[in-house]
Symmetry: D2
Subunit: 428 residues, 4 copies
């Protein structure tokens, strides 16, 4: 039983606030509006001008956006000479005034622009979309990365873990949130509302998402969990349409089988680690018999890595995958052991230049302090699973007391902690 | 009727989250913990170390706090040489890497420390209290102002207007919020719960507060409003215990008769202006007959200013106030006109060095775009009202279309816009 | 902005209460359990026994249910002799004791049984389903109608208008409620979630439902509303997939185009009238320009009535409908005028034995005080619309001041109030 | 973490609904209005007429109310002849029609009147107040008891346990609820808001209340609970202002030290038993170490019973109480053993004519299945505690598995189950 509803009400106001759309936009070029907003006509005009900027931005085409980003990058940059002078002044006399001058000089003007835009109700989501546009231009125009640094800096402050809100997502959740879960699921596609229902509704299924109070309609990241009585060895078993739900009170194992980041515009602002930890904590408190927290994860870099090998084994596997994609999994069944042995190699011995594992999912979970617990062949026979990972899936195990030392040793030198059964594959 | 409760639920999680208290603190000096937190042992250890820092800080005595602030100010400062070098490098080659280096160098390390502390649930309120402690030391140790700059910078980002939530406070509000309203009321003291009830419960009374989602138990600023059928000329009339509530549907005037900032630790982060504007907007939408939005405000700087005058009039007023404080308001009644004329002088002709009015409340409302509408003598006969303002109160009028031009002209050159009746006093 | 969340929280407890399922059922025949429950072993055992009864009932097959209903009807009936004796005693000495004896005697024992079952959390919904089962048996076993009287009597008390809660249903509503809207829509079928979205999400569409606090997962009745700038003359226009939403602020007309009762087990407990009135009131308060409240209603009894006519016109219409059902609406277009004239006859001149209109939808809206405003041909070309109503739809108009007199004159003698344009059809 | 907020929202609508006040009342005598309401002018006029009746009733003086109750009792009674005839008809031919006729005849017309009044928003609370007025007249006019039977019958249906909502009351609860807790506390007076805070705010204190969705502003019954590490032997210890809260996680004992019914108008509709059981269930689920659920209860009938004794012991006790009331508790200290022995007599051997204990609190808890666990002298030294119970308090223990057999044996023959230490007092 909750203690009070007052706190829940707070957010309703956010939701009910009139958004910035619909404001009549002052009829001035975007750049002029930006200068006006920074020019200190104060908060009153500020709200109006800010709304005009966001309106105008929204109506830009791709060329217009590129011009705007160039403007942010070059015209709204800091003045390196001024920084140098301010740094000298501060070195000579370290006081609040010289420090303030230095802080002002060292911050690109676009940062304050973004901060002022963010004062508008609903602006946070608009700025996240703006960064999504920006990220799409970085390859073509790397100089925009300088502007991206400022977005990333501010978002990291605004989307501070302390401000995020964890919510359970289930079949009683609002439809407009659920349709986003369908859209954002990045690992194992959700086909339609019936498929979604199967993932959310059974008593032995859970889904959790982080939200930010200023973007209550948008999940930031979500995780899908299956409560089971054993560590699963394939996604087919987890998602089977005919399976019988188990008695949740007897579940021993929570399987994190899908983690999806929802907001491209929040790239690099990491939520997944916090989400897993919070969910582990909450599920532990709710279900006393849970003792094992484990993922069932894809191996997205495997096939590409395999393609770089020249061994007959690698070739055999490649052919088996091709056959499986064409509908015949017979060959694949014959190379199970080979595949698992190759995968052990892939995770434990093959490294990037920086000494970290090649697999991005591995880097994520090992970086969080999990261990590589088991490797399963023919564990994801979907086209995507075959193409990227040759049907392989793995379990990363989050083992309470060992998470911190694992994390630290991985952070230090990229050491991959694996279970003895995985280690044994190397010697197999 | 609201559309959905999902959004209100988001906050409940914030509220229900285990706070950082009660964490077992690692047994290490505070400075070591701070270095550890910045040292990148990652988010896992980070939460534990952060909790230890906040725990340890809470247990410090005054000396300990000063040592900690000195540590933040000196040891966690930026390195001016590094900034200079980075600025030079960026001038020569403006790219993301050189910019990132410069940004890192130019930010005192304490900023990142505060940001990481803020990841803990409940930490925002703890940091606001920490700054309250810091502010109390600034007079004795001005160098700490450098640290305060970083607090102010971060708070201004975290307490961005776009993140704030407006809530009506009334007699159905939670008691623990209401006891804070009693405690924080800074203008016209609330004596007890019965007094509070008289301010909140009648249909023609309103109270609104801003909250931040990460501090849902703490109002940031609140305003008390009386709905009336005329602009009031004394606080006695507004707060009278026997008055009859009016029919709200017929109210023409919303009187903002008390605005209180609640968090000393958020000094300089301005909420009052936004609050007034939002409340004007909301009340307008709710009550169609409302057309006048006006304050009934104290004149806190008047008596001090008067004390600096040497005219016989000033002396007579001074004596009348002394008598009134002793319980005899007869003399005060005789100097009504004098007082109002002097007040017109005080507001319109006497200025600070920067050309702004002496009165802080005047600077606030005129800066927001209000005009000085009327001056009332014997309008606040409480001891505080007599001591600070010789019993004077004034109305500042927020007049929709004129707010923006008023604000801009005041922002430009400190021009005080007053009604013709106030202007006339000067010529009286 | 709402005043408080406390009240909303109340319901959460209902929702969170452990339901009666899962209770270990005492191993006794259903009839014994019922006697035990009435036997006054008090509330403690009562909850356990009640749960056992509901569990046991749920597991019955059709035969078992019929035996149980027979038991309720015969064994749990009142004793007419006892009533007679008690009535005599009360006539002789009218006091509380004799009255209590009479009241006890005159109430079939099954009423108290149902009341005690209803003490269990979640039992109300179970009893509504039980009555649904019962209603299905009435035709085969009319004696069960006596038991149904007691269900109806209690439900009418429990589902008292004063206990119902109106909720807006929109795209932010919980999915498990929305899937029931899809399932329960009885007038214009909702094909899938996309179709539902088109009905709920556009700004100019509304949906409202009544709920009972003890069955928060089950809508009782809901109405779908289109906000328009004119009275619509066909459902195709209202539900068109390509239509552009209109500016809600400018909407003049609220069109109730579908009203569906959701709970078969609540048959005869009327909610529709209250729902329409409450929605009219709420929409009026929200949208100031709304001045016309009108339905777009089917004419479900028309085709059957038409089949009883022998005129050449009737025959021509019949053939046109057959052609339209086969995909060719050409003929139908030619009999528009005929159809509308026949419909005027159907509504205004043809009556049931009790003097009321033949059409059930007409009886509902005219009984609520609406007038028959307009008749449209080719207004519903769906198979259902053609089969039941020959493509006809009509508008019933709810005209504020005239609702009460309309209602009373209809209640008195079945007088059908129609607009002059409908009246004119008769003379056409 | 809760699953959804939709359900909580349902109630908000109840709260937001315009109440029946303010409706313009038709200008007709109250009796005429009642006949109109029953006369079937339908729901539309019904709401208006119902509001007029409640308005008119509210404005009645005491004489007017008595006339109205006499009207309900006599004019709105049933017709015994009609009942007799209907019973005969039903005996001869048991069908739905004859049963309906009998049911209609056997129900006093005032029942349907009350049911129709209850359709108005807010009417439930008004009807509860009406019954409160009625109860106050019963002694003077016993015939009104016949009307009271109908109120009681309907309330027992409307306030069915299945419709009630349990809410925790704490320092974050709405002030307007808390002021009612202060007002309604019937056992140990709450002096002011500070006193209330001491009862609600500490982590080792709890308070729970039942609410009905149709009266969300009014608690029906509430219980105050202290979480302790031992069974307390005096209220002074429980309510001491200086006590240190204990660590709730280590609490072994939940002490129900005050249970108050709030609504006089709901007399005879028992909530206390359900409340205790629900709270035991909820606290058990929350706090795993709780194993003892016990009351600390007053002994309100003791002093009066003692006054009827003529033994020297009884006299000595009487004098000690008189001295204690005058401020000197020395004598009382000397009769501790005597008092406890007498109390054992009072509870275990002295009975009412119906064989039940004299003490009403004992009848309540023993009837719920508790046992008399311990008797404490000088356990409530407040004036009320001394006057009613000579300073005695007792613990009733709710012992999970034994509650049901205890309840049944008490229900059967009034057997008082006591602990061996209490039994021993008899032999002392």
């Amino acid at each position: 039983m909750r203690r009070s509803g007052f706190f829940q009400d707070l957010l309703s106001t956010l939701f009910e606030r009139r958004p910035w759309r619909g404001t009549q936009a002052p009829d001035a070029p975007l750049e002029t509006l930006c200068e006006d907003l920074l020019g200190g006509r104060g908060e009153i005009s500020g709200m109006r001008i800010g709304a005009a900027i966001l309106d105008a931005y929204r109506d830009l085409d791709a060329d217009g956006r590129r011009r705007f980003f160039a403007y942010l990058t070059e015209d709204m940059d800091l003045d390196a000479d001024a920084v140098e002078a301010a740094a000298q002044a501060y070195r000579i006399d370290r006081n609040a005034k010289t420090l303030q001058t230095l802080a002002d000089a060292a911050e690109p003007r676009r940062q304050e622009l973004l901060r002022r835009l963010n004062r508008l109700p609903g602006a946070t989501a608009a700025l996240v979309r703006m960064r999504e546009d920006l990220l799409a231009e970085l390859r073509a125009e790397p100089s925009f990365t300088r502007t991206d640094l400022d977005f990333a800096h501010l978002f990291s402050s605004w989307f501070n873990r302390g401000f995020l809100v964890l919510r359970r997502i289930d079949w009683t959740s609002p439809a407009h949130i659920l349709e986003k879960i369908i859209a954002y699921e990045a690992v194992h596609q959700i086909n339609d509302w019936d498929d979604l229902r199967r993932r959310l509704h059974p008593a032995d299924r859970r889904c959790f998402a982080f939200f930010h109070p200023a973007m209550p309609d948008e999940p930031l990241v979500f995780v899908e969990v299956a409560l089971t009585d054993a560590i699963p060895n394939s996604i087919q078993a987890v998602l089977s349409e005919d399976r019988e739900p188990i008695d949740v009170g007897k579940a021993t194992t929570a399987v994190f089988y899908s983690i999806s980041n929802c907001q491209t515009g929040l790239k690099g602002i990491s939520f997944g680690n916090s989400l897993i930890k919070q969910v582990v904590q909450d599920l532990s408190a709710e279900l006393r018999n849970l003792s094992t927290f484990v993922t069932l994860s894809p191996v997205p870099g495997f096939t590409k890595w395999l393609g770089g090998l020249e061994s007959p084994e690698a070739k055999a596997v490649g052919e088996a995958v091709t056959a499986a994609l064409a509908g015949d999994t017979g060959q694949l069944a014959e190379v199970d052991d080979t595949l698992r042995r190759l995968a052990a190699d892939y995770f434990l011995k093959s490294k990037r230049d920086d000494g970290r594992p090649i697999d991005p999912v591995a880097r994520f979970h090992l970086g969080n302090g999990a261990i590589l617990h088991a490797i399963h062949a023919r564990a994801d026979l979907s086209p995507a699973g075959l193409k990227r990972g040759a049907g392989l899936m793995v379990n990363y195990l989050y083992d309470g007391d060992r998470v911190e030392p694992n994390h630290e040793s991985f952070a230090k030198d990229g050491a991959v902690v694996a279970s003895s059964q995985v280690e044994a594959l190397l010697r197999g």
